[in-house]
Amino acid sequence: MAGDIDLTTSGAVESALDAARRQGTVLVLDLRAVGFMDTSGLRLVISQQQRAEAYGHRFVVVPGSDKVRRLFEIAGFPEEHALFAGAPTELAGGDGA
């Protein structure tokens, strides 16, 4: 993902994630190129996290910028949270979705 994730773009991001989720067992949301994200982005992450739990696949977030990290921290996802653990290295350079 690249750009900003906010109320106006989160719908498109969600569609992209839903499409990507159907193609494998590990879904990586790479936010390193995302400059800004607001609560609508977090809503998306939590929604995907819950679907991963329900359907038994892995969902991993690569948080990227300080602003995005801060947002995760505020939302109760500290750095060591399982959400950020185990991003497959071969995917780390891709666009994530």
Binding site: D6, I74, A75
Partner: protein, 751 residues
């Protein structure tokens, strides 16, 4: 040679072409042409015409020389080329082939010269190169052009020869045209036959104005029975048959027309006029062109006018333009009364002399827009409207059209129609209609397909005398349809924003309650779109042992967000009042949110304010929310332990942070609309917020500082709602406070 860049040569050709299109006298034509050629392409040039009997007539000469230019030109004008010279002009004419002398030698000059004196003249021109071009037009030799360079240091080559031949083509044409207009009398009869059968209207006048010729096309265009009727009328008599306006709607007199200007010997530019035939009210757009024809002695001989009928073209163009401009007006504003007024003004005077729009309002049909070519009449009609409200049941044409939905076209208003079209038949109104001198009326419904009309748009002609027809009706109907859509959109939007405002109000407390020992201030700014309810809320309420202050944010906008906001606010308030404990209240809300079918996330910052032994404390809990700020002695410090959103997980592990509030301390709660506010190249952010708050002097000051900072920082429209609530511990003495105990929860009642 280096006779200037390509662009100059094209300009030269174009200029020569223009001379060819003109109607200058032969001598003037020659002077103009030579002036174009020297010095741009030659230092010396002469132009000759050839009479039908093969005689050369020198039309002009031009020399670009530092000294003795006039003498040289005069000598060249008098010069008669030696008819049998082996090189030069006569040779070019006889052979019909251009000649290029790349370097002019003395031998050449001797061959050309007719005498010693002539040789001296040729030497004085200091020629280096010369070109001799025969001029041909319409398949015959019409003249010859001689060009020379020398004094400028230039010389000619093959390229120049080719260019000179192209140029000579234009010059030949110009020369030929000028010759033609001089011999027009000889062709008169043949010409008349041609003109008579032309599709374009042609009128020929004498300088005195008397029409000497008109073809049948002219008679048709001027609405006269025959060409003879046209010839029998004086120009003024003809003019009196019409109302003539220019494109801007200004009335024109006979003297304004190109034929009159040409009659004064002036250059007359073509003029597009709107012609209304007085007898029938028929409108025509006519392009008048007039050309003066001069006698050989230079005096004005005739004025030839050609009138082209552009009615269809012009009407189609006008209709397009009115619709396009109306479309812009209609989509640019949601204030429909003002928009309709602009649309009415667009149609006047292009389509009609006045335009009125009436809108249905219950049983009434008041006029909401009115435009008239005569401002005084607008006031007159408005005044009448004010004294005589129009009812939907009135027998007026507008009411009739609104009731039936059928458009109405009255091409010709007579007295009978007029009294029928007035709504009460009152003498007064009849008088008004007469006063307006209505000729033709169109009334179309303002209606969206299959829906009852919401009003009517009327177009009428009076002053212009123009008769409205089916084309106008089609255009007006389309205008009515577009206006109706715009009005409906504006109404819907207005209703929506009203609902949104009402709903938003219900999500916020009407007033902040007075809390002994504390002062509060709040700020709420809804995001840009008027008709969307945002997801921010705040609330302040009394709980056992103190007060609860909460700021929350629901992800999303619109009806869904509004419902969730409402649920959150009231659940938290009820739980808070009953349980008195912020974490317990949050858990209640979490459970409620988890029960809703869709993922419903709410971020909250809540604080319980309480006092113990005269000291004030705040127990603050965050759920998915950025930290609150504690302003204490000139510095703002973030407060709170980050924890998950409400509605995300069954157990959130929310933690309370307790701080002591000294007198003068403030606690600032806000939603992320504050820190997410977009600036020129950054977001407002937490650090900027902390700096903004650091030396706030009280609750009201803190809120004011945030508002000012956001207004200054923001770039573009506000994207998200913004809520701020500031609590200040007042410095006034010990505070009355109730002891905290389990019993309180039971006996506390909603305030």
């Amino acid at each position: 040679m280096s006779a200037g860049p390509e662009g100059d040569r094209f300009a030269l050709l174009a200029a020569a072409g223009e001379v060819a299109d003109g109607t200058l006298l032969l001598a003037n034509t020659a002077a103009r042409l030579l002036g174009l050629v020297v010095p741009a392409f030659a230092d010396v040039a002469t132009l000759d015409s050839i009479s039908p009997d093969g005689e050369l007539h020198r039309l002009g000469s031009r020399v670009d020389a530092p000294r003795g230019r006039e003498e040289l030109e005069a000598a060249l004008l008098r010069r008669r080329p030696l008819p049998d010279a082996p090189v030069g002009l006569p040779r070019a004419i006889v052979s019909s082939e251009s000649q290029l002398l790349v370097s002019v030698t003395d031998a050449d000059l001797h061959a050309i010269a007719s005498s010693d004196e002539d040789f001296e003249l040729l030497c004085a021109l200091e020629l280096r190169s010369a070109l001799f071009i025969p001029l041909r037009a319409r398949g015959r030799a019409v003249g010859a052009l001689a060009l020379g360079v020398g004094t400028s240091g230039r010389s000619y080559d093959q390229d120049d020869l080719r260019f000179a031949e192209v140029l000579a083509g234009r010059i030949a044409l110009a020369l030929d045209n000028a010759t033609l207009s001089q011999t027009v009398t000889g062709l008169e009869r043949r010409l008349e036959a041609t003109l008579t059968n032309l599709a374009e209207a042609v009128l020929v006048r004498e300088p005195g104005g008397q029409i000497v010729f008109a073809n049948s096309a002219a008679a048709g265009l001027l609405n006269l029975h025959s060409a003879q009727n046209v010839v029998d009328a004086t120009p003024q008599q003809l003019m009196d048959l019409y109302d003539v306006f220019d494109e801007e709607g200004r009335r024109l007199a006979l003297g304004d027309l190109p034929s009159s200007r040409a009659g004064q010997g002036e250059e007359a530019a073509p003029l597009l006029v709107r012609n209304i035939i007085r007898a029938t009210g028929e409108e025509r757009w006519l392009l008048h062109k007039a050309t003066p024809v001069f006698d050989p002695d230079g005096s004005l001989s005739l004025i030839v006018s050609v009138i082209e009928d552009l009615t269809e073209v012009k009407r189609a163009e006008l209709a397009q333009r009115v619709l396009a401009e109306a479309g812009q007006e209609l989509s640019s504003s949601l204030d429909y009364e003002r928009t309709l007024q602009r649309v009415a003004e667009l149609t006047v005077p292009r389509l009609a002399d006045w335009c009125a729009v009436a809108m249905r309002q219950g049983d009434l049909l008041p006029q909401v827009a009115l435009a008239h070519v005569d401002i005084g009449k607008v006031a007159r009609v408005r005044d009448f409207e004010a004294r005589h409200p129009a009812y939907l049941t009135d027998p007026t044409s507008a009411a009739e059209v609104v009731r039936s939905g059928e458009p109405l076209l009255i091409p010709e208003i007579n007295g009978e129609v007029l009294s029928g079209a007035t709504r009460t038949g009152e003498e007064l109104e009849l008088e008004l209609a007469r006063e307006l001198k209505l000729r033709s009326v169109i009334v179309v419904p303002l209606a969206i397909a299959d829906q009852p009309p919401i009003g009517a748009l009327s177009l009428a002609t009076a002053e212009s005398g123009r008769r409205l027809g089916e084309t106008d009706l089609a255009l007006a109907s389309e205008l009515g349809r577009r206006a109706a859509i715009a009005v409906e959109n504006a109404r819907l939007y207005g209703e929506l924003s009203e609902i949104a405002t009402t709903l938003q109000r219900s999500l916020l407390p009407p007033d902040l309650p007075a809390m002994p020992g504390f002062r509060m201030a709040s700020l709420y700014r809804a995001a840009g779109e008027q008709n969307e309810v945002g997801g921010d809320f705040y609330d302040v309420f009394e709980v056992p042992g103190g007060w609860m202050v909460v700021v929350g944010d629901v992800a999303g906008r619109g009806a869904e967000a509004a419902a969730l906001t409402s649920l959150s606010r009231y659940t938290f308030r009820t739980a808070g009042k009953l349980l008195g404990d912020p974490i317990a209240a949050l858990e209640q809300l979490n459970t409620a949110l988890r029960e809703s079918p869709a993922l419903s996330l709410v971020s909250v910052c809540c604080v319980r304010l309480r006092t113990a032994d005269g000291d004030a404390y705040a127990d603050l809990v965050l759920a998915g929310h950025p930290p609150a700020y504690h302003v204490h002695r000139g510095s703002a410090r973030p407060v709170g332990v980050f924890a998950p959103f409400l509605g995300a997980y069954e157990h959130g592990g929310w933690e309370a942070t307790t701080i002591k509030l000294e007198p003068g301390d403030q606690l600032i709660l806000y939603t992320d609309g504050v820190i997410d506010t977009v600036g020129v190249d950054d977001r407002f952010g937490e650090e900027r917020l902390a700096r903004t708050l650091s030396d706030a002097t009280g609750a009201a000051d803190a809120v004011r500082r945030i508002e000012h900072a956001l207004v200054e920082f923001a770039h573009g429209s506000q994207a998200d709602d913004t809520a701020v609530i500031a609590v200040e511990r007042t410095s006034r003495g010990p505070v009355e406070t109730r002891a905290l105990g389990l019993g309180d929860a039971a006996r506390v009642a909603p305030n």
